[in-house]
């Protein structure tokens, strides 16, 4: 199997191109959901601050 793994990553000499493609794609398709999650957290924090301010004004 040892030969298999390094042989696998060699991609028949196209390693740079195949892993350059798949790597960049994986990076983007992992980063994007994380950024969306962060945007949600920020939106919720802003809303809870608004709610708190409003309730303080009323009391």
């Amino acid at each position: 199997m040892k030969g298999g793994i390094s042989e696998f990553f060699a991609m028949g000499g196209y390693a740079l191109y195949v892993w350059g493609s798949f790597g960049a794609t994986a990076l983007l398709m992992i980063a994007e959901p994380l950024l969306v999650r962060q945007r949600r957290k920020a939106a919720l924090q802003r809303i809870s601050r608004l709610v708190r301010i409003k309730s303080e004004q009323q009391s």
């Binding site: 740079l16 195949v18 794609t25 959901p33 949600r40 939106a43 809303i47």
Partner: protein, 248 residues
Amino acid sequence: MSGRLSFYRFSSPAAFYPLAGTIGKVSALIAVVLLAIGLYMSFFVAPTDYKQGEGYRIIFIHVPSAWMSMFIYLVMAFWAGIGLVFNTRLSSMMAQALAPTGAIMTFIALWTGAFWGKPMWGAWWVWDARLTSELILFFLYIGFIALQGSIDDTRRADRAGAVLLLVGVVNIPIIYFSVKWWNTLHQGATVSVTEGSSMSTIMLQAMLIMTFAFWAYSVAVAMYRVRSIILEREKDTRWVSELPEVRR
């Protein structure tokens, strides 16, 4: 009357917000499963290409991302058109939610195309008809995002964005048919809805599974992002302040 009413019920952000969450979870699950299967097939099931050896495996993300880059733009233009005509804010939010994912898919198509072109054509970039029109598509996405970001009044931003999208729709058939009309360098359509494909079935199956995976991924990300957009735009409403996820 109630049938029509129920359809419009989902055009209200408050009614659509929970639905988007469910669709998001389901499509995210589908995306993960299909990506796992697709990647396994791309590397371990699909045979070595007689001419390009292992290098051709880039097709399994280049084609799906290119298809998605065009498809997402059409979906965005559709929603933007609906938003413009019916003045339904949620449709414009959908267009805005899809934009970053469309831009990323276009970037992936351009990036993987360049990484595939270098070993096979000998160049990272060529001013070929398809490559150039795909690059224009990328600028359209970036332009839409920048335009929406630069206008404070959301209603005006939605209208301006919709006009830009609808003007740019003409670029999609240009990309699709560019290989036939100008026949510069990029390969012609290997897979077509009418004539099937000249690819080996295994390679085609792997590519189609990856395409559905990319599609499910885009739906999931767009649904989660549209929820954030709804929260941002409806932050002063009562229904948002009463959401369980809002900590008091």
